[in-house]
């Protein structure tokens, strides 16, 4: 069986007709995602695990629910990444992406195991173009709404990098933009690699991720504004929309939403080229196709924008998942079983028929797809390292705050930075070493870093009755709170989470 895995970054699922969790002011055109959803199995209750971008990829590629042990970081020596397992079994592996995080400080080891990789240059902070010295003003003005990075500055992660990268792109020629290139190259790869007996193609589109800088016709598709008005930002800072550097006017929020929606439609149109290639090559008969996203993106919901230090509402945490499996009797059906991002690792191992006995925290979805089981998991855990820990049973979402006075432990074979993910690492002089992880006997460094609470009080929502999570039930449904706390403790115990997590979350110590 071949496997095509497609991640569409930041694809907030309620912007899709397939997932009408909450109202969106536009009728966002996604005819190709709709077309794929009709054919595939649609998972209604799928949750992110470790957030944000690279932690999600370590879940998919290694089956590790990493946020209980460490933040954003590299593949570890004791991981068994999917492309390595696949190629060792004679499966051709390919990565196609425009995701600069794979090549940035702090996150190596993700692309190196693929037989081939294609990297479309220029997105976000990609350290690519150095000319023109003065970035195009029209682009530069719109990618920052407050005191801008020095356009001639040479520091890390300067937004002028993006403006230089797109300086030669015509705002009216969509073929030069990122998702069109990623999906065109994917379609081309599918057509040119039919001779291989078995392959695993991993496509990671950075779009719909910000900056929400889109060409026409998408820029004007969902707004009457002039999309190049310099007062209208398309790369807002993360945070509250009503204060600080992330503050936006109502008009600016509306505009950002319109550009996000336009980008969703652009992604969809070019994703359609991939579906066309599958049609033309007849690959559907021997290819499993997985389409998902790492997380959503706040666009004013709950008063937030981006992926800030906010509670992890379903806007961010509940993600789309569609799987086509040619032998599944559940093709074209919806499945409401609770599933987690980490489960895709074991699922793809099963699709490829790899003989792997241990899949760490991952549970294959193949029994669900084969119609043998609906009872997949009782809980799904999700969160950022060092912060609140969240659990759902598919009906309730429970967000459990942490004690900010208790530091969190970071575990890794590298002295990774707990919060400064993208800049050079510094020595962790207080680190101790030992075999602290329950899933390997390898020693790792262990050191403390501050906890980062996202909220002070617990939050509980019944998402079957209240999908927009507007009514916190903590004070009115004590029984559900106790049950979700029990479930949280059960999940942390099952995963053998560090004792420190129980202390940080003010839970009774882990049973020995």
């Amino acid at each position: 069986m071949n496997v095509l895995f497609v991640s569409i970054d930041s694809l907030t699922r309620h912007f899709l007709d397939v997932y009408p969790d909450r109202d969106v002011e536009f009728d966002v055109e996604t005819e190709n995602i709709d077309r794929f959803a009709e054919r595939a199995t649609v998972f209604d209750t799928h949750y992110a695990g470790s957030l944000p971008c690279m932690p999600a990829r370590r879940e998919w590629l290694t089956g590790t629910q990493e946020f209980l042990w460490r933040p954003w970081g590299p593949i570890e020596p004791f991981d068994d990444p999917l492309p390595r397992l696949a190629r060792e079994d004679g499966v051709l592996t390919q990565l196609i992406t425009d995701h600069f995080h794979y090549f940035q400080h702090g996150s190596h080891g993700y692309y190196e195991d693929f037989n081939g990789f294609e990297f479309v240059r220029g997105h976000e902070y990609d350290a690519w173009q150095t000319a023109p010295q003065d970035p195009p003003e029209e682009v530069y003005q719109q990618i920052t709404n407050v005191s801008a990075d020095d356009p001639r500055g040479t520091g890390y992660l300067n937004r002028s990098q993006y403006a230089r990268n797109v300086a030669d792109k015509e705002a009216t020629d969509e073929t030069e933009f990122f998702a069109p290139q990623v999906f065109s190259k994917t379609a081309d790869w599918l057509r040119r690699n039919q001779d291989w007996d078995e392959w695993f193609c991993y496509v990671d589109s950075f779009d719909v991720h910000e900056p929400f800088h889109v060409p026409e016709p998408y820029a004007s598709l969902y707004t009457d504004e002039d999309p190049r008005d310099p007062e209208l930002v398309n790369w807002p800072f993360y945070g509250r929309v009503d204060e600080g550097q992330s503050e936006l006017t109502e008009r600016q929020v509306d505009f950002v939403r319109s550009q996000f929606a336009g980008k969703v439609t652009m992604v969809d149109r070019w994703f359609g080229r991939v579906l066309d290639a599958l049609d033309e090559t007849g690959a559907w008969e021997d290819t499993a196709v997985v389409v998902t996203s790492d997380h959503g993106h706040y666009l004013g919901e709950h008063g937030w924008v981006g992926k800030p230090g906010a509670p992890l509402y379903d806007v961010l945490a509940r993600t789309p998942l569609f799987i086509w499996h040619p032998d599944s009797p559940r093709r074209g059906e919806r499945v409401d079983s609770l599933t987690s991002a980490v489960d895709l690792y074991a699922t793809i191992i099963d699709f490829l028929g790899l003989e792997v006995t241990r899949t760490r925290h991952s549970r294959s979805l193949l029994p669900v797809l084969e119609g043998r089981s609906d009872d997949h998991r009782d809980w799904a855990l999700y969160g950022y390292w060092g912060s609140s820990v969240n659990v759902t049973d598919g009906q309730y979402t429970y967000m459990h705050p942490c004690d900010e006075s208790v530091d969190a432990y970071c575990h890794s074979t590298e002295m990774m930075s707990a919060y400064g993910w993208f800049t050079p690492r510094e020595p962790q002089r207080d680190a101790e070493s030992g075999a602290y992880l329950p899933y390997t006997d390898s020693p790792v460094w262990r050191y403390e870093a501050p906890s980062n609470p996202r909220h002070v009080e617990p939050l509980l929502f019944d998402v079957t009755e209240d999908p927009e999570q507007q009514r916190n039930l903590v004070d009115e449904d004590g029984e559900a709170v106790r049950e979700m706390q029990r479930l949280l403790r059960e999940a942390l115990t099952d995963l053998e989470a560090p004792e420190k997590e129980f202390e940080r979350l003010e839970l009774a110590p882990r049973p020995s």
């Binding site: 407050v146 005191s147 990075d149 500055g153 520091g155 890390y156 992660l157 300067n158 800072f237 993360y238 945070g239 509250r240 204060e243 600080g244 550097q245 503050e247 800030p308 230090g309 950022y384 912060s387 930075s417 707990a418 919060y419 400064g420 993910w421 993208f422 800049t423 050079p424 501050p450 980062n452």
Partner: protein, 69 residues
Amino acid sequence: MVGHVEYCLDNVDSATRRRLGGLDEVPVTEQRCLQRCGDCYSGPFLVVDGELRTAETHGALLNALREDE
């Protein structure tokens, strides 16, 4: 008069974090990341009313805040 102060968790030591948390006269927001990674890596900074402020030390930034009041 300062209206709002934001800082990155990664940019402050525990003593500065305590001092910022103890500022009663101005709203202070702690963020895991303010997307000022280049500035954060270069040295101490705060975002005050949406504007970046840098200095040699956090003490100097906090003193400047007092002078603004």
